[in-house]
Subunit: 453 residues, 2 copies
């Protein structure tokens, strides 16, 4: 197709005003917020509804032009920004929120709705979204479903996958799969929604989600537990998980990260007892869960425990975990590596990382923290060159060698496509490629993401 | 391949003793327990491990002979018995149970382990399986995963899909996909396990499952609530779901079915107040949930409530729901139709079924009961010819026309393959066929199940 012909066709579909072309107007869609990934797009197209998304995909397929679906552009692995010359398909205009169905606790959510907007709608109806993560103000439901996002409530509620009671998606050929009946039991044929969740826009474009809310639980208690090791942390979690159905979060921080946070926020230590590992636990229930948490912690032998019941006290404890990102960023642009490690190997992983990092870059420092409940570790490296991939490689190889994964909650994107084989066998990769070829034979959907081209 | 050559090859793989050929020894594997489905198999092969399963699939593929994977043969839709001439691949020998990992509450379960054995192992380790269904003594984990089985705890814990922290499966080409790291966050590439769950042995053979247990909760309360209509039942459920994180089951029975049960068991009515609809609710928690259930029922305006706290009282209430199958069977062989209907349309569905059944067979009677929490209705028809498919068709069309599904928890099998298009669009079916062709190009895995050949 001649230059400009595709853009005219796209303009006929979405309206010329929603086909963006100039470098200035396209810039916010072309690079991720870290600046690490991105390139010029051919254009940015902003459909208003599912029919427009379908028509855009048909037009791009006819023109043999690749499409990069994009939500809130809060990703960290380059999965939602162009590699050069693609059409960026921004779903942000599809931001309609349906009514909450009071009998099922479900609602229809457009792909472009932000997590914060979904959380507010849920709260207004007396429910909760069941997912929370730091990028809530920008991250969209479509992007969260496309990456199977996690966050700190996955321990209780599962990843975003568990919130998807159904979805609507446009496949590469422009056909629309609509599975939004919201039935929690529906095993009529293959679960295509389950396949699309986490496929990062390479098998279809998620346009609407039937979101399953969770009960809003306002009786909460938070505790920060000082421990001697990550082995102790894993053992503690085992006891809490078995005894506390109200357990919602279990995060971990290590001494170097916490020290950075305390310095950054000019705060005293949370407890007079020094501890190399601290686990932040939160329980939420319809009744006050303080006593059951205290009993479970006592049964697990925890001694250094700081408890917060009122909201300000709970928020003070959470701040020590959540401020890691800003305290680290204050040291310079960090290298961020998201991995999963089986709980039983977490201590081994954490012990080995500093040496691996130092071997690549002696002046760099590794700060580890993350979601204990899921074995999800965020490795942050300060003082290293983000363009130097040796540290990424060493950390990913270590995680994989311990039975872990190269991506826990951020996704593969383009950043980790070359490392996917560390966590997946040849048989697995061959099956993924077969599925990709079956559903997107022309290879127009987000090429280079998940699977190398 | 000459007759007998495949059998010899299979004997070399699993040992001649585990290749069954005579009509007498094969019979238990060739027909389902209702006698409605089945035919002669070419032979029955019983592998002992994953490598043998892989070798069997390679041999069958080379010989172009279709394979029917089979677990406990408790299915109701003909998905696990031969249509004529296939090799039945029985997974029952793969019945090893691993140790429970105390930090994650997970264990490795062979495909041939029965649900009852899994439940016992979970209990012994201080956990619970998170799934329960009537066929627990025969149904195997492999079959339950292959059908994404449901049961009466799905309201709280989800269907079997939610219990799968990972799995190992053999694909049609004999390659093995092993995803048993058990990481609850692992979005490295497509979630092939999620695609295999519910694919009924047509995309791969599940050999091992990394099962995610749930906390064992012994503080329980059960209530039977009399209501004027299914609309009231749906509204009640909405309130309970939002207020009670301890809610584990919400089943419904209707007056005709309950009357049959009371006559069959020679019991008096559970409450002096007549009611066309009764909802059986169970809460389970670490603390006594009686007060919170009572408060929620009061808030929902429920008046006719019978509560059971001690085990015998709870079991008496459950018996009224569970004895439906035997009370119905005492009337003659019933036609059993498993559908899902959105909660908001359930009353409409229940009101229309008797008329549809009578139009097909005036002397037949429809008894409806099921899992209110999931909109999962079991339609049982007594007094009709099970070979007459007009009633199936009428009921499935009705469910689909109300936005429901033709299979909620039993699966598609061969019984409903021709009705799948009632619940799935052309785009959906085309995508399913593309996935099937991609992963099983020779079409040897359970042909005719899910998708018509």
């Amino acid at each position: 197709m001649a230059a400009g012909a595709l853009e005219r066709a796209l303009g006929d579909i979405v309206g010329a005003r929603d086909v963006l072309r100039g470098a200035d107007v396209c810039a916010p869609f072309e690079h991720d917020w870290t600046g690490r990934f991105g390139a010029r797009a051919r254009c940015v197209v902003r459909p208003a509804d599912t029919a427009q998304v379908a028509a855009v995909l048909r037009a791009c397929r006819a023109a043999r032009v690749a499409v990069v679906p994009q939500g809130g552009n809060t990703g960290l692995v380059g999965g939602g920004v162009p590699r050069g010359g693609e059409v960026v398909l921004s779903l942000r205009r599809m931001a309609a929120l349906g009514e909450v169905d009071a009998t099922t606790g479900q609602l229809d959510v457009g792909a472009g709705v932000t997590l914060a907007a979904l959380q507010a709608a849920a709260r207004a109806a007396g429910w909760a979204a069941g997912v929370d993560l730091a990028a809530r103000d920008g991250a969209t439901v479509g992007g969260m479903v496309a990456t199977d996002a996690g966050g700190h409530q996955a321990l209780r509620h599962g990843t975003v996958r568990a919130r998807v009671a159904g979805l609507e998606a446009v496949l590469a050929d422009g056909s629309v799969v609509d599975r939004r009946s919201g039935l929690m039991k529906d095993n009529a044929g293959y679960d295509l929604p389950a396949l699309l969740v986490g496929s990062e826009g390479t098998l279809g474009v998620v346009t609407h989600v039937r979101w399953r809310l969770v009960p809003a639980l306002d009786a909460r208690v938070t505790a920060l537990v000082g421990l001697a090791s990550l082995e102790e942390a894993a053992a503690l979690l085992g006891v809490l998980r078995r005894r506390l159905p109200s357990l919602e979060s279990a995060e971990f921080v290590l001494e170097p990260g916490l020290r950075l946070v305390l310095e950054h926020l000019r705060l005293p230590p949370p407890s007079p007892v020094p501890a190399p590992v601290r686990v932040l636990v939160e329980c939420a229930a319809a009744h006050d869960p303080t006593d059951e948490l205290a009993a479970a912690l006592a049964a697990a032998g925890a001694r250094d425990v700081v408890v917060g019941v009122d909201r300000p006290d709970r928020e003070r404890l959470w701040r020590l975990r959540e401020a890691h990102a800003e305290a680290i960023a204050a040291q310079g642009v960090p290298l961020k590596i998201d991995v999963g490690v089986p709980l039983g190997r977490l201590a081994e992983f954490a012990a080995a990382v500093p040496g691996l990092v130092a071997a690549c870059e002696p002046s760099a420092q590794a700060i580890l923290f993350g979601h204990l409940g899921d074995g999800n570790v965020h490795v942050n490296v300060v003082g290293a060159d983000p363009a130097d991939e040796r540290i990424d490689e060493a950390v990913l190889r270590l995680a994989a060698s311990l039975g872990g994964t190269v991506s826990a909650e951020h996704g593969v994107g383009v950043a980790k496509a070359r490392w996917l084989a560390l966590a997946r066998s040849d048989a697995d990769l061959a099956a993924m490629r077969a599925v990709k070829a079956a559903l997107d034979p022309a290879g127009i959907l987000n090429p280079g993401v998940v699977l190398e081209t």
